[in-house]
């Protein structure tokens, strides 16, 4: 059987990859996917920590977080669609109207 700590390590690794992708990728959909990866990495951390401590509540919490992530995806994709309709691009460099 695979030890629980491996899952925990994997979740931290995924989270770090999500952060890196958020900063180096330049189009909105991929940045949004990076955030989703981070959220799901946190979910994995919840599950592995719940398994390690033997309590069930951590696994239930994950369902709530999945729901939140779905709500965020709905509103986020709507916003990305809105800016795409205005500018016909989703490159992040194009969104620099306000500065200072």
């Amino acid at each position: 059987m695979i030890p629980v700590s491996y899952f925990f390590g994997l979740s931290l690794l995924l989270f770090a990859l999500g952060i890196i992708a958020f900063f180096i990728k330049r189009d909105l959909i991929t940045m949004f996917m990076a955030v989703e990866v981070m959220l799901n990495a946190a979910n994995l951390a919840f599950i592995s920590l719940a398994k390690a401590s033997g309590s069930l509540s951590g696994q239930v919490i994950v369902f709530f977080i999945i729901t939140v992530a779905a709500a965020e995806a709905a509103i986020g994709l709507a916003i990305i669609l809105l800016v795409f309709r205005q500018k016909k691009t989703i490159k992040v460099e194009e969104f620099r109207l306000m500065k200072g």
Binding site: L39, A42, G76, L82
Partner: protein, 477 residues
């Protein structure tokens, strides 16, 4: 004790939100004002239910929703903020091409999210409330669908907000793994008990603080704030600068209430917040100095005010923090109301040059704006002075003298940019090529201006009544 009364204010607001959505779909009228009045009625109903629950300590869902007096006080504060924003939006949305009835529904949902945040001792429920609030706010920022700035504001708010949420979730996971509990008291017990290493719990707590710092815009997690505040429709900016901030501070207040001095590890968190507070006060005020857009000046000023509020959290003084939040509500909503007044159909005047000579041309808007700015700068006899005075004196009492010195110096810097607007309004001649004419037929706006003026002066001159209520609210915990 389970009692449905604990749920009733929240239910009232959520029902209002759903009803407004239905009405919008069913009737789809050109004039959306009636939706605003419906939402106002439901907010008033929620507020009445809050007043009824005062001193009763109702709870529901096995103690994950507790209506103590502090939560009720914040409910009332949020309802008041929501009512102000609704009144300000009535005319604004039809004038500025944001005529969507969903605004009122989203606003009520955001308020319900904040109510969930302040009435729960469970960090998971607090997180869910925060997300209800944030998701509604992302949509509110992009309400002017044809405006590129508004869409950009929504985009930035969404991307950085959800990025911060991910940190918050990972922080919660680590805290859960360390303390085996999501309830605030359980987490505090974990930090107080035993001698085992608490590194994981501390990292978790740190990430949770980062997540919250993002939402309440503490430096260095404030990058999104000025852009979002500038691009969003002005009534929504007023909402963002007041309401989520109060909810975030209410949560910080609950988390750190028994936290200071609990163990050697908490010392570390204390100094981390100390640094954040200093950075927020100094950087917020310094960057505000070189802004020329009044909306952006107010955005940086709201960042700086979060720094002063953090001083109250560090001092562990609840009543001064709650008083500050109350005073801040009146003066900041008032300032934004005056800014909304500076508009006519299809045009908003936000640049500093537009304000030249306004004080004499439009005495009501100019005069009240000057009072709110003076209050934000912290001059007596306004609410802003007393609020700062209470916070700083509470901090001196627990020996945070260096922090107070920095805070006072930072607020001295802030006087410059607040007064710059006042000077522009009263002492500068309007330039002939910038014709500013505004549409003053907006009774709801003047009602809000008047109520905020009343609040600022009442809290600044006779704060006794409200202080008694605040002391009742915090001593009942």
């Amino acid at each position: 004790m389970n009692n449905l009364a604990a749920l009733s204010p929240l239910l009232c607001v959520v029902l209002g939100a759903l009803l407004v959505l239905l009405l919008e779909v069913l009737f789809n009228k050109e004039n959306k004002s009636y939706l605003g009045y419906v939402s106002l009625a439901f907010l008033a109903g929620g507020a009445a239910l809050c007043v009824r629950s005062w001193n009763k300590l109702y709870s529901f869902f096995n103690g994950t929703l507790i209506l103590d007096n502090l939560a009720l006080f914040f409910f009332l504060l949020f309802s008041l903020a929501g009512a102000f924003i609704i009144l300000l939006s009535l005319k604004y949305i039809s004038d500025q091409e944001a005529n969507h009835g969903e605004l009122y529904s989203l606003l009520l949902l955001a308020l319900s999210g904040m109510m969930i945040m302040v009435s729960s001792p469970d960090l998971l429920v607090i997180f869910l409330g925060l997300e209800v609030l944030s998701v509604s706010c992302y949509a509110l920022a992009g309400l002017k669908r044809k405006d590129e700035k508004s869409a950009e504001a929504a985009l930035k708010y969404f991307l950085l907000g959800s990025f911060a949420s991910a940190f918050l979730v990972l922080g919660l996971a680590l805290l859960y793994g360390a303390a085996h509990s999501m309830v605030i008291s359980g987490i505090i017990e974990y930090f107080q008990a035993g001698t085992a290493s608490k590194t994981m719990g501390l990292i978790g707590l740190g990430l949770v603080i980062v997540g919250f710092a993002f939402k309440i815009a503490l430096v260095p997690f404030h990058m999104w704030t000025p852009d979002v505040y500038e691009g969003a429709p002005t009534p929504m900016t007023a909402f963002f600068s007041v309401a989520p901030k109060s909810a975030g501070f209410a949560v910080l207040l609950r988390i750190f209430l028994d936290f200071w001095g609990a163990s050697a590890e908490t010392e570390f968190v204390f100094w981390a917040l100390w640094v954040l507070s200093v950075l927020t006060m100094v950087v917020g005020n310094l960057i505000a100095l070189r802004q020329t857009n009044v909306k952006r000046i107010l955005a940086y000023s709201s960042i700086a005010h979060a720094g002063y509020m953090l001083v109250a959290v560090l001092a562990g003084d609840q009543s001064s923090l709650v008083f500050y939040l109350t005073a801040y509500l009146f003066m900041n909503v008032g300032a934004f109301a005056a800014l909304i007044g500076m508009s006519k159909k299809g045009k908003e005047y936000n640049e500093l040059e537009d304000f030249a000579g306004i004080g004499f041309k439009y005495p009501w808007i100019g005069g009240t704006f000057a009072v709110f700015l003076i209050s934000l700068a912290g001059f007596p006899p306004t609410a802003g002075f007393l609020a700062k005075f209470y916070v700083f004196s509470a901090a001196v009492r627990v020996g945070l003298v260096p922090l107070v010195v920095i805070g006072v110096l930072a607020s001295l810097i802030s006087v410059f940019y607040y007064l710059r607007i006042v000077v522009a309004m009263y002492m500068r001649e309007p330039s002939p090529d910038r014709e500013v004419t505004i549409d003053q037929e907006n009774p709801a706006l003047f009602l809000v201006l008047f109520l905020c003026l009343y609040g600022v002066l009442q809290l600044g001159i006779f704060p006794g009544n409200i202080l008694t209520i605040i002391r009742m609210a915090v001593s009942f915990l």
